[in-house]
């Protein structure tokens, strides 16, 4: 083996090794999954907070009502008002599942057009919309409200 060939082999091997190490460190697929898991955790928290808020809100309505009819009307109004939040939370779960499917397709190389940045942005935007609905209902989202 002559010196030039050895030098060439050495540099190529070093470049391949560095590429593999860098790919391991900055893996967009892994980052997208971590972001999605964070959003999914916040969604779970939002669902639980919403359930608790609904229970308290309904009991407060009954507690402060001055007549049975007024309580019934206020309860019916609240139950209609909360419907979009329920639909949004159910829809958000579907968005999360679709995001994970996109990530899996990209990982397997089955769809090369999928961008991890857009998958993450999509799920963040969907969560923002749900946050807006829940906050308009007065649901205290705590840390999730500030999170973006």
């Amino acid at each position: 083996m002559n010196t030039d060939r050895m030098r060439y082999t050495f540099f190529v091997s070093t470049a391949i090794t560095l590429a593999i190490v860098l790919m391991g460190c900055a893996n967009p697929i892994k980052s997208a999954r971590i972001s999605l898991a964070t959003v999914a955790r916040l969604q779970t928290e939002a669902v639980n907070t919403f359930k608790e808020y609904d229970a308290n809100r309904q009991l407060d309505i009954v507690k402060t009502a001055t007549s049975a009819d007024a309580a019934k009307a206020a309860l019916a109004a609240w139950r209609a008002e909360r419907k979009p939040a329920v639909q949004a939370l159910q829809g958000l779960y579907l968005v999360s599942v679709a995001a994970e499917k996109s990530i899996a397709l990209a990982e397997q190389g089955l769809d090369k057009s999928i961008s991890m940045a857009s998958v993450v942005r999509e799920i963040f935007d969907a969560f923002d919309k749900v946050k807006t609905i829940l906050m308009s209902l007065g649901v205290p989202l705590g840390g999730a409200a500030q999170w973006k």
Partner: protein
């Protein structure tokens, strides 16, 4: 010859480090995937239970209403 041996040894070492890094990255990816699936399963369980939880809230409120206004 000694230099050639050192260079070849270095290449071998670098390749083994690279392969180890790739194997670690693959294992790490798999762990993140498993973790995400667990989080999504938990979310699914909560979302699926949402309608029945709200129905239970409705029933509790209706019950409280009956207790507060027995004749209403």
């Amino acid at each position: 010859m000694e230099i050639a041996g050192l260079i070849l040894g270095g290449i071998g070492k670098l390749v083994s480090i690279g392969m180890e890094a790739a194997a670690n990255a693959a294992a790490d990816n798999e762990a993140v995937k498993v973790q995400l699936h667990a989080v999504l399963d938990e979310l699914k369980a909560q979302v699926d239970a949402l309608p029945s939880a709200l129905a239970a809230n409705d029933a509790a409120a209706d019950e409280a209403l009956k207790n507060k206004f027995p004749t209403g």
